[in-house]
């Protein structure tokens, strides 16, 4: 069985937010809920990097660990899903999640939380595959149709990769091998100036942080 994974290559992400839009449209997520978001670090300064982030389908998921009603489950593909019929909207999964994946539509009096909604790796929920009930609660079940999540399929620069962890890792490893993984690879001096390299300064445009 495959072990499904997302990977966002920060050297390639251009913050176009197409993944966010694709996800919203494909899964018809409730108003005010975004299952995926793009975060930019050091926006506007040299070394700016963007990354698309959603549920990362952890092996030992903190959300599943803290859920008071135990509504999470893992599929055979290692996708973390939850049962909205069981969820009580307490918000604990949101406290614990490292990636800010769980989202809550506003529901009921005084803005209390509705049932949690999050990225399903386009794998639906516990209902029958691609049934109207499943679609209404969880959105598309592309995995059941033999397709990968739409966010990754839509990614123009192929920064966002989704699929079996081994395959994703192979693609990424190949990329890193070709372009080099650090600031001391062959050709760096030529591309970014030998002076910067020799004096050990952060390389303009490539190093993160900016001042």
């Amino acid at each position: 069985m495959a072990r499904m994974k997302f990977l966002c290559d920060v050297e390639r992400c251009i913050e176009c937010n197409a993944c966010v839009t694709a996800c919203k449209n494909e899964n018809e997520v409730p108003w005010g809920v975004n299952r995926r978001r793009v975060v930019t670090i050091n926006d506007g300064s040299p070394g700016e990097r963007s990354m698309s982030v959603a549920c990362m389908h952890c092996s030992d998921a903190p959300c599943a660990a803290v859920c008071p009603v135990d509504c999470f489950y893992y599929t055979d593909d290692g996708v973390v899903l939850h049962d909205k019929d069981i969820c009580i909207g307490c918000g604990y999964c949101f406290y614990a999640c490292p990636f800010g994946a769980p989202q809550f539509p506003q529901d009921g009096a005084f803005g209390s939380r509705g049932k949690m909604d999050k990225c399903t790796f386009c794998a639906g929920g516990p209902e029958e595959d691609n049934s109207p009930e499943e679609h209404a609660k969880y959105g598309s079940n592309r995995l059941a149709e033999g397709k990968l999540p739409l966010c990754a399929e839509m990614c123009a620069t192929k920064a966002l990769l989704a699929g079996d962890g081994d395959t994703v890792a192979d693609i990424y490893r190949e990329r890193v091998t070709w372009r080099g993984s650090s600031g001391i690879g062959w050709g760096w001096g030529v591309a970014y100036g030998k002076a910067g390299l020799r004096e050990g300064k952060a390389i303009e445009g490539k190093a993160t942080g900016g001042e």
């Binding site: 937010n17 966010v20 005010g32 975004n34 978001r37 793009v38 975060v39 930019t40 670090i41 050091n42 926006d43 070394g47 990097r49 990354m51 982030v53 903190p62 660990a65 803290v66 859920c67 008071p68 009603v69 135990d70 509504c71 049962d83 019929d85 069981i86 969820c87 009580i88 909207g89 307490c90 918000g91 604990y92 949101f94 406290y95 614990a96 999640c97 490292p98 990636f99 800010g100 989202q103 809550f104 506003q106 005084f110 803005g111 209390s112 939380r113 993984s181 650090s182 600031g183 001391i184 390299l197 020799r198 004096e199 050990g200 952060a202 390389i203 490539k206 190093a207 993160t208 942080g209």
Partner: protein, 361 residues
């Protein structure tokens, strides 16, 4: 002939030379990168930009927030670094240690009951009834008591239901219970927030510590562990301690609870929620532990105690035994009333039908 010999020597030399160079090269070639690193140190000083980026994302050196087009709580944070700590607290510390603390307290009370039994009114009931609480004091007590029990119960269900109730009720059944617990907890908390300040001021006067009397009471542990029962005022030192635990704990619970309530209105960030949750649960477990003691002593622990808060009256001998200073005060007739009034017993469980020995209000 000599030609042949010469070529053999040359061949021999070539073989030896090749072997030697092979050995030398095998030893030396792998050292070249080290030599380069040793001589051209500059290259090693350049930090890998990738490591800095990931350090930023994990917020190891500083708090890093990015920018994002998605509006919502904490959406500009890539990694919620405190989430895992909070998980460790709730699953690894709160749940097990909370269960141990509550269980140990219940165990102590059970053992105490088996060893000591009910604390009787030694002189027996006199039949004479003494006014202890006003109807306002009783009403506030019961509103506070009912809200507190509902909140404690629903809170404990949200912590321990996953292990205790799911096997009994099933997933869907427990989901309904948990939803009800959440609603009771969220809105019952508002009632609790309203009643705690009222209770605080209502019982404050009687609950201020009187060092001379109360220190002695504490030193003798109220006589519960043997020895003579120390003298006490209307409210003994243990009850005063419970007042302060419940009230100060109550204020903390209300404050931290309000931080946790209404997340979609105030848009609290996760650090606020996690911090408030940690404080809320630790204090709640502490107050519940004290509450067990209060519940035990007020019901099965001490004969004649419960009626004080259901009827507002206690037996005169009970007052003499447990609150001697208060009883003496009543005897000296503060406020004109007299404790040696005709016994107005028999069915005198209604405050209205009983003559009050002290005209307190």
């Amino acid at each position: 002939m000599s030609n042949n010999k010469q070529s053999r020597i040359r061949h021999h030399r070539m073989v030896v030379f090749s072997l030697l160079s092979l050995v030398v090269l095998t030893l030396v070639l792998p050292l070249i990168p080290y030599a380069i690193a040793e001589l051209g140190e500059t290259a090693g000083n350049v930090a890998n930009p990738g490591t800095e980026y990931w350090r930023d994302v994990r917020q190891r050196d500083r708090i890093v927030t990015g920018t994002t087009q998605v509006r919502g709580v904490d959406t500009d944070v890539l990694i919620n670094v405190t989430g895992e700590e909070w998980r460790q607290f709730r699953m690894g510390q709160l749940a097990p240690y909370g269960a141990i603390v509550l269980g140990v307290m219940v165990g102590i009370l059970v053992v105490y009951y088996l060893v000591r039994g009910k604390i009787r009114i030694e002189a027996g009931r006199s039949g004479e009834r003494v006014r202890r609480y006003t109807s306002a004091e009783m009403t506030v007590h019961w509103i506070l008591a009912i809200t507190f029990v509902l909140l404690a119960l629903s809170g404990l269900i949200l912590i321990y239901g996953r292990w205790v109730l799911i096997p009994l009720l099933g997933d869907a059944g427990f989901s309904a219970t948990a939803t009800a617990s959440k609603v009771i907890h969220n809105y019952g908390g508002l009632l609790f927030a309203a009643i705690v300040p009222v209770a605080f001021f209502l019982y404050l006067k009687d609950s201020l510590f009187n060092l001379k009397v109360d220190a002695k009471w504490f030193l003798r542990a109220g006589g519960y562990l043997g020895g003579e029962e120390p003298s006490a005022e209307k409210v003994n030192a243990g009850q005063k301690a419970w007042y302060w635990v419940a009230m100060l704990g109550g204020f903390v619970l209300v404050a931290s609870g309000l931080v946790l309530d209404f997340p979609n209105i105030f848009q609290q960030g996760r650090e606020w929620l996690q911090g408030a949750h940690v404080i809320h649960t630790i204090v709640a477990i502490g107050v519940i532990v004290f509450f067990f003691v209060h519940l035990y002593l007020a019901t099965i622990g001490v004969e004649g105690a419960l009626e004080s808060i259901t009827s507002g009256h206690v037996d005169a001998n009970w007052a003499k035994q447990h609150h001697d200073l208060w009883y003496k005060e009543l005897q000296t007739g503060q406020g004109g009333g007299s404790a040696s009034e005709e016994p107005s017993m028999s069915g005198g469980s209604h405050a209205g039908g009983v003559a009050s020995p002290i005209a307190k209000d």
